[in-house]
Amino acid sequence: MQKKAGPWFYVFLVGFVFVVMFPFLWMLASSIKPMTELFGGRAFTPYTTNPTFKNYVSVFFDYPFLRYLWNSTVIATITTIYTILVASFAAYAIARLNFKGKAIILGIVLSVSMFPQIATISPIYIILKNLGLTNSYLGLIIPYTTITLPLSIWILVTFFRKIPFDLEEAAKIDGASLMQTYWKVILPLAVPGIFTTAILVFIAAWNEFLFALTINTSNAYKTVPVGIALFQGQFTIPWGEISAATVVVTVPLVIMVLIFQRRIVSGLTSGSVKE
């Protein structure tokens, strides 16, 4: 029998937990410090005796941070819905239908999901500019296809493959058309997989930076990552506000990871870990 882990293991693990959590706790501590305690003698003191929410108020009322949150939400949501719709058809075809050249198509999809997006940024920028789509929601939703579509096809294929083939056979025998089989038999069973993929697509679109930085430059259409990266003004870096802003965007993600950790991991590692 395997030995149970001793107390040293826990000491070590808790040490690692501290290392992982430390940057976040540091940010949290900085975000409630008054300006005067961020620098100078009290900069290294982890706590403050005069906690303040001024930085949070400032983030939401002095900066267009709410606008950025709204923009990110709209762009990531629409990207997720339309990508999943298009990708689920493609993934179904690759996973369940008989035709030649599947492996090649899957190879093309996987290689696309790993290529550097920077190799497409100039033409995308120029075309969007000529179409008048820079500084618009569509201007980011369209290019996000290059990131999210291959990613979701790849993950969905592994999920679709796990659904037993007998069900399709049974539906066929009952006289269902292929389209009916897809909508009424396969899709309901694939819901957990589709949901997982949707979470990953949403996170990818929410966090995307290069396209967002290049294409949507006006404050009205900036997304959260761009807003945070460009918080620093010309002469001063408002660290209190930046800390508050990072806490605001981190908390929902932490909650999401706590709830969906198993799904996210299974989605990310699917295809790369053979079960």
């Binding site: 882990a5 493609a90 075809a93 790993m114 100039s122 579509l149 761009v226 930046i242």
Partner: protein
Amino acid sequence: MDPVRSSVKETPSEIKMKTSKKKRVLTKDHMLAIGFLTPSLILIAVFVYGFIGWTGYVSVSNWNSLVPDFSFAGFENYVYLFQDFRFQADLRNTLFFTIMFILAVIVVGILLAIMLDQKIRQESLFRNIFFFPMALSFVVTGVVWQWLLNPSTGVNLFLSKIGLDSKWYTDTTIIPGVEWGKIEFGIPVALIAVVIAAVWQMTGFSVAMYLAGLRGIPEEVREAARMDGASEFQVYWKVILPLLRPITVSVVIIMAHISLKIFDLIYAMTGPGANYVTDVPGVYMYETTFRGNYYANGAAIAIIMLLSVAIFIVPYLISSRKGES
């Protein structure tokens, strides 16, 4: 066609019925497959392969101003880059960043995964905590670590209190700094800060991968090794680690492609740095294209990045295809 089926005696009409039925299903599958795949394939063909082709075309053109100029320049832009101080520094930085980043992610990932695999209490809580930086964007990671390593406010104050160097984060020293081309070759000290931030963010992924791999190794394998008199260390070093090799390959590929195309983290954390000690091709490409309007130079950088990623991905894809068939 199908040896098992053809060996069974069937009446000709039965055979005819079966084959015709099979054919009909196949064509229906084919048509549906085409219908299902077309939207995705068109999007990928235009937005990815088409635009990469465009970038490749621009990279051999003379377009280095605001006005598009598609006249053929040969490999002039590439030659220029490889003789350029900044690009040489970028290549050095990418090389050492990639090596340090991948090694650290693998070593820490294996160690933590082995520890989590010891039937510990609260395992899922630990896993969640190790995993959560993965969900953050590189921009947030960069900003957080910039603040954390800031020489005048962050943890480096602690270093200066005990009499150590607190300014390493903005140091331009390169170790060992051998002259090579136009640059000093070696590990830039400031780059280590970026590696730490990247490892902090990505280790959760390798922990998850290795944990899945460890769970896939049956307990009997370990038992057998112990029966043969192997120490606990030997069991892991000689038996478990070799069995985890496929996972290591996946982790290396995934981390390598992240590291070779890294942009957000550097942009948000350090920028190019003095003497370009923390610059990477991605940042150079962005600045030269969208700040300087050197479209052809930028395109050449993008193509070099693409090729460097392809060196990792293409063999991986070919070998995993072989594994499947």
